[in-house]
Each structure stands twice: as structure tokens, then as C-alpha cells.
Symmetry: C2
Subunit: 113 residues, 2 copies
């Protein structure tokens, strides 16, 4: 595993044309994939500084601290960036359900193969 210092992180992150990067949240203990959401530069900075995972809501067009209304917060445990810098993977400690539906994670619909 390579490591990247916070001071050199920004030049490694490849934001899309909307200034956003997709973020996968994975439960640090169970390894379940909880959800996928988006961050802008500010949300990523707050997340890394405070460890309170904070996304950017594309529908509401504003920062969204996970759990700010539900109490179902995510605390950052570990953070990884992919080979070409256009996706982040966060290992988190999830309080309550990660999904806004109340489900433990957002992937509760299985496609019948």
C-alpha cells in the first residue's frame, strides 16, 4: 500500500466537470459496501479534517454531513484513492442504517440473475 500525504492529495484527486468525485463508503468492520455518494473539494477537506464524513448533495446542491438529521453518522477510519484518482474509498464506522430508507446499506435490492 502506497501512502499519500494530505498536503499532496489535492493534485491526485481527479474531479469531474462538476467538480465532484464519487466516494464509496465501506463498513470498516463488516466490509459491506454501504453507499456511493459524491464529494467536492470542500466536502473532502472537511471529511479528512474532522473525520465526520461529509458529502456534497447533487440534488440539494449543498454540503451534507452524513447523519446531520438522522443521527446515522459515518466516522472516517481509513481513506484510499484509486489508481487514476477519480474514485475514493472510505472505510467508516457507521452508526445506525447508512441508507435514508433506514436499511443498513443502500444495496438491498438484489437483481435476480
Amino acid at each position: 500500500m502506497q501512502t499519500i500525504d494530505l498536503s499532496s492529495l489535492e493534485k491526485e484527486v481527479s474531479y469531474n466537470s462538476d467538480g465532484l468525485v464519487p466516494v464509496i463508503a465501506q463498513d470498516a468492520k463488516s466490509k459491506a459496501v454501504l453507499m456511493m455518494a459524491w464529494m467536492n473539494k470542500e466536502a473532502l477537506g472537511i471529511t479528512l479534517r474532522t473525520r465526520d464524513v461529509t458529502y456534497y448533495s447533487r440534488s440539494r446542491q449543498k454540503l451534507w454531513r452524513k447523519g446531520e438529521t438522522s443521527g446515522h453518522t459515518q466516522t472516517l477510519v481509513d481513506a484510499q484513492i484509486d489508481c487514476d484518482g477519480d474514485t475514493l474509498l472510505l472505510l467508516v464506522e457507521q452508526i445506525g442504517g447508512a441508507c435514508h430508507t433506514g436499511a443498513p446499506n443502500c444495496f438491498f435490492r438484489q437483481i435476480k440473475l
Copy 2:
């Protein structure tokens, strides 16, 4: 876990304005998150029909059967769609490294918190 039939899947998938949906590939055994890539409707159809995971390459603007040149294929084991239909999670059997760099997965760069 709810189930969705293949016949009713298309109306559940929310493609973005480019006709693409982000797809997280997770190792079915180790639960490691391997990579994130994109599918269009055709790639998703091929993947579900053949179980050979096939993405859409945004840079090459064409279908890309994972492992077609490297041999590092992904075989679909299980597929889930998230609460609002804009992300897919595929459980796969990965042959060789999932990353084009040869690494086991694309998330080999850890951000030093």
C-alpha cells in the same frame, strides 16, 4: 433483501445524462472493493446475460469486457442496485489483479490521515 427481475430492471436503473451508471465491483469472497467503473445499457445487458463483466470505457468510448486483453476477467456472482437506482454493486470472482497496474485492486493508495 428485495429482488428485482431482469424484465423490470431497466426501469429501475437511473442512468446519468451520458447514459451511464457507476458500478462498484467487490470481490465475492474477500469483500475487498476492487474498482469502480461505468456501464451503459448495453454493457449492463451483456454483463447480466453472459456473467462476463463488461464496462463502458469513457476514455475509449466503447464497450470493454474486463480482462479482454489482460486475461484478468471478472465473473458475475451477484448483483445489487441501490435505493435510488443510480449505482450498481457487483459481487465478482476476480481472476488476477483487478487494476490495470497489476495491483489486486485499484485502491492501493492510502491517504495518510
